[in-house]
């Protein structure tokens, strides 16, 4: 479903600050794969995500989604078939618009936007059914402004908005990192449920190793713009946080430098 081949990205090329953010990344995801990506700060996780979503154009390499070359498509065109949840709970929803209006905008993702009412009776019923799956009582607050919701509720809504049109790819960019632990847990379990039920091909970046182990069927570890470790299926099931840290030390010969990754 997603093929990333030989992607290289260099920031500030030709200056003292030159940084190779991605160096020949190769990643192949079959339909229904759920890949979690870990790595320390500056490893290139977010850059990889931005290359897939179209925020960053790579120097070289291909991004193929569902057999279609998309590397030259601008972000807004690509996002017709990519759903995305950002780290910032405020980033995925429009605060001064209502819940139903936000959902209507997400519903238009893969369709041409027309001069017809965005929120109709029929759509309201549909939105209500989707919101019920969140179990947050949002189905009774369709006409409430999203700005009134808590961070956790907004992130849950963002997750729903990113997924309910069944995009080819779902990108989760540390989407629980800015929430308090109980809210983060809620969003994590919602993510697990949504991805399992809809079978979305998912790429998730996280700082939290435990979360990376709990979710998904594949795990990759990145460092200095390269994928340095990969575990699939049963092999991943058996991994622990300790294994991952040891693995990092064995490959790189240095300590994994990020406390957040271990502490959560």
């Amino acid at each position: 479903m997603l093929n990333v081949t030989n992607i290289s990205v260099t920031f500030n090329e030709g200056t003292l600050d030159e940084k190779k953010a991605l160096n020949g990344i190769e990643l192949e995801m079959a339909a229904g794969d759920f890949v979690t990506v870990i790595g320390s700060n500056g490893a290139g996780k977010s850059t990889l995500m931005n290359v897939v979503s179209g925020n960053i154009l790579p120097d070289a390499g291909d991004v193929i989604i569902g057999g279609k070359q998309v590397v030259h498509l601008p972000e807004y065109k690509r996002s017709a078939f990519i759903g995305r949840v950002f780290q910032d709970p405020m980033a995925g929803t429009a605060p001064s618009m209502t819940i139903e209006e936000n959902l209507a905008m997400a519903y238009s993702r893969d369709k041409k936007r027309r001069l017809k009412f965005g929120v109709t009776k029929k759509r309201k019923d549909m939105f209500r059914d989707y919101l019920k799956t969140l179990n947050l009582g949002l189905e009774d607050r369709l006409s409430a402004k999203v700005g009134l919701l808590s961070g956790g509720e907004r992130q849950a809504l963002s997750l729903l908005m990113a997924t309910f049109t069944n995009p080819n790819i779902l990108l989760l960019d540390e989407h629980t990192a800015a929430l308090d632990p109980s809210r983060a847990e809620l969003i994590t379990s919602l993510t697990e449920k949504v991805v399992r039920e809809s079978g979305l091909t998912t790429l998730m970046v996280t700082h939290n190793m435990q979360q990376a182990l709990d979710l998904g069927n594949r795990l990759i570890m990145m460092d200095k713009g390269q994928i340095i470790f990969e575990a699939n299926g049963e092999e991943k099931e058996r991994l622990t946080v300790k294994d991952l840290l040891q693995e990092f030390q064995r490959i790189r010969g240095e300590q994994f430098e990020d406390d957040r990754a271990v502490l959560g």
Binding site: Y76, R78, A91
Partner: protein, 326 residues
């Protein structure tokens, strides 16, 4: 008094169309668009030139709308494709339009006094109905002796403005309109929901300036002339209308907000009329008064909030028991 109030409401209803345009950019798109000062005059100039050259007034007015739309689109292009700062792209366009307007007019002021304007046509239709006599004799009962010469302009323009308001309301609730509103609210989100934010912004700023130019064309025909300087400070007048309206009538829904903007535009005109009756104020002071209104409307709520917060803290401190630390 009644007659000057009547005039204020009459022109207020027309200026409301301009205020709706300003609302579209300033509030919906969150794009402080200064093109308005230029596109208002462009509207008046295009209409005046067309009418003087024998184009039917209704068509001339539509030309004006189209010219404003184009001017707005260029501002939008500068900002989105040219990556020019929003304020600067408006200022650049406004400056360029000054010369363009002068070229359109051919002279600083173009008179339409001897031409058939849209309102003169309207007046000849209207006089057949006899509504003026009915209304004026009704008012005469209340002892008003100086009565407006015609109710045609007020009535018809009120209907036109309300229709524009309703169309705007509808537009902002369509799938396209929702995306447009999201640009002003959370641009990153709507881009990740596959909306072409550049094109939407360009069309949005275009529509806004189309309305502004339409308003300019009508004001020009109402006054019987187009002047290259008639747009100076127009954006501040638009802002004043939007802010006054929002403060008085609220913004809970789109329909409410657009109604508030119309109300704000009319009330602004009434304020101006009243201010001009004050002895020591001159016509030239109007811009200052307008700026002062906008400044007060922008600053007062913040000052009020800070004061309230201060009071709350003092009270809280007292409750918690006599700590004299201030």
């Amino acid at each position: 008094m009644f007659i000057s109030m009547f005039g204020a409401v009459e022109s207020g209803v027309i200026y409301a169309i301009m205020a709706l345009g300003v609302y579209l950019t300033f509030r919906v798109l969150d794009f402080p668009d200064l093109t308005v000062d230029g596109s208002f005059v462009t509207g008046a100039s295009v209409a005046a030139l067309s009418i003087v050259n024998g184009v039917p007034p209704i068509l001339a007015t539509l030309f004006a709308l189209l010219a404003g739309f184009l001017a707005g689109c260029i501002t939008g292009l500068l900002h989105t494709k040219g990556k020019v700062n929003a304020l600067l792209s408006g200022i650049l366009m406004m400056t360029a339009l000054y010369s363009i307007n002068l070229r359109i007019l051919g002279q600083p002021t173009l008179s339409m006094l001897h031409e058939t304007t849209i309102f003169k046509q309207l007046g000849s239709f209207w006089s057949v109905t006899g509504i003026d006599n009915a209304l004026n004799s009704l008012l005469g009962v209340f002892g008003l002796d100086r009565l407006p010469s015609t109710w045609a302009i007020l009535t018809v323009m009120a209907v036109v403005t309300v229709i524009i308001k309703l169309v705007t309301d509808f537009y902002l609730k369509t799938e396209v309109g929702l995306a447009l509103r999201a640009i002003g609210d959370n641009k990153r989100m709507i881009r990740s929901l596959s909306a072409n934010t550049d094109n939407l912004t360009i069309v949005g700023v275009g529509l806004s300036n189309g309305l502004v130019a339409l308003s300019g064309a009508l004001i020009g025909q109402l006054g019987g002339f187009a002047d290259v300087n008639m747009g100076i400070g127009m954006i501040v007048i638009g802002l004043a209308s939007v802010i006054i309206g929002e403060a008085l009538f609220g913004t809970k829904t789109i329909a409410r907000a657009t109604l508030a903007v119309i109300g704000g535009a009319i009330i602004y005109r009434i304020i101006v009329t009243l201010a001009l009756r004050v002895d020591f104020l001159e016509t030239g002071d109007m811009k200052f008064i307008t700026a002062a209104i906008v400044i007060i409307a922008l600053v007062a709520p913040k000052v009020h909030q800070v004061q309230r917060e201060k009071k709350r803290r003092i009270q809280k401190r007292k409750q918690l028991g006599g700590d004299s630390h201030a």
